[in-house]
Amino acid sequence: MGPLVPEFISENMSYIVGFFIGLAFGAILEQAGFSSSRKLVGLFYGYDFTVLRVFFTAGVVAMVGILGLSHFGLLDITQIYVNPTFLWSAIVGGLIMGLGFVVGGFCPGTSVSAAAIGKIDAWIFIGGIFVGVFIFAEGYPLFEELYKAGYMGNIRVSDTFDISANAFAFIMVLVAFVAFYAVYLFEQRKQKGISFFKFDAGSLAVSALFVLLAVGAVWFSDRRERILRLSEDKEFVARYPMDVMDLDEAAFWIMERANDKVQFIDFRKKDEFMKMALPNSYNFTVENLFEKGGNSRLKLKGMQNVFVADDEFTERQMAVIAKELGYKRVFVLRGGLDAFRREILGFEEPKGAPKTLAEEWLVRFRKNAKEEVLELIKENKPKEAPKQKEKRKLGGC
């Protein structure tokens, strides 16, 4: 599950990866024509719409692409950097940059691609950026109040407005397509006849791309919401095929101290968990199931994950979520912890002699189990839930 940094790619390795990402970034910008200031500002004077096409296409492709990765469980979007919103700073900064775009003819990324091919104006522009950052740094005491005003957190459009991520993505795809079509018509204004659609490979490919993006925007629904809804459906949960572990088997594994074979995933509240927990158990919340931290805990090789809660139904609900998320080797404890406390920890020998051999064995086993498991629980110090790493603070720029 992504992102790959820092678990799968170390910090040092990420510099090398960054370098290669940069190679592609620079090459694409240059190939697109962003190494030319006249081409860039053409957007604002209506003679060249490359910026609109490249930028907007990239934006919606990335937006739908990230929704898709998240939908298929390949990317934990709670772990990716979402630019924080400082309302007034964002507005003022945007306005200053917009002015700089028209005056300077570049933005920082494009100026780098232009400088690389020898544009002197781009080198001058880059010199200006350094001076600008320096001015900001030195004047920081003056700017700080505005810089930090109106902090609203790392929010997304779906948090600010009453709109789902999918609906917003769909609208953006639509807006992009309409804008491109409008520009296509606008560019023909000096021609005599206007063609409303060109049946060539390029136009068809672009149209097909946007149909795919629109479908993706709607289809890549938020997995989390869908699965949570399923887990609320009592009948669905009851009918869901589930591996159930018997109380005695669970006790057996605990007594075996088989910490590399069986672990317990405990969904009770944290304070209850801290008071009493089975050995080798981990306190989870529903959220942990969707997160990267929970992901690595549940994916241990060969490990059987026994979901426990006070009652079996809650266990099944959580197990349904886990199975829908694609986790294997998920079990629920028969009867839940309530049953485990009653039948194992609180086991009382039935009066009268056992009638069958099996019964005798069971009584003997449970007597042992009660003693030993209670002892192990006492020794056990409950482990905290898998901590989510703090959200990435460092952004793109």
Partner: protein, 172 residues
């Protein structure tokens, strides 16, 4: 003219979008450019005027947010060095590498030089307020649907359209 042979903009956009998705998948954050400039400025000040850097709040906050080695040990710096080389290779391939100053048909060289420098300054300041530029705030922000990023994007393009008329002599 060979110079005019650029990639189809939609194809370039598709590739840029896929690169951005890959960047998020691998590094957990988007593309960026202005962050690299900031790193260089901070590194320079820390080297040239160490005492000042430890006194002034901006540099203090920067080191608090970026603990560890030199400010230059930053993914964005490596990314921009890569971008320079990538763009150079692309320009070489397309036969577009040469020293020259590009300006509007009616603009003087002097006006273009001043414009480029002032424009750079504005971006340097603006990208601090916006916490990113067209790449880091606008494009990457759009990709993750960040409210602030999209707001900054709208302001960049809105302001550019708003002021374009007054600077038309630079370009048309």
């Amino acid at each position: 003219m060979r110079e005019e042979r650029y990639m189809n903009p939609y194809l370039a956009g598709l590739l840029l979008g896929l690169l951005l998705v890959a960047t998020f998948y691998i590094t957990g954050r988007g593309l960026g450019a202005s962050g690299a400039f900031k790193s260089v400025v901070v590194a320079t000040v820390e080297t040239v005027a160490e005492g000042h850097a430890s006194d002034a709040k901006f540099y203090q906050e920067y080191s608090a947010e970026h603990p560890g080695a030199s400010p230059l040990m930053n993914v964005l710096v490596f990314e921009i060095v890569g971008a320079l080389l990538g763009a150079f290779a692309s320009g070489l391939y397309a036969g577009r590498v040469s020293w020259r100053l590009e300006k509007g048909a009616n603009a003087t060289t002097r006006a273009r030089i001043i414009g480029a420098f002032v424009g750079g300054i504005l971006w340097g300041i603006g990208s601090q307020f916006g916490r990113g530029c067209t790449s880091g705030a606008a494009l990457s922000g759009l990709a993750v649907m960040s409210t602030g990023g999209i707001l900054t994007m709208l302001c960049i393009f809105g302001a550019a359209y708003g002021v374009a008329y007054f600077f038309r002599k630079l370009w048309i």
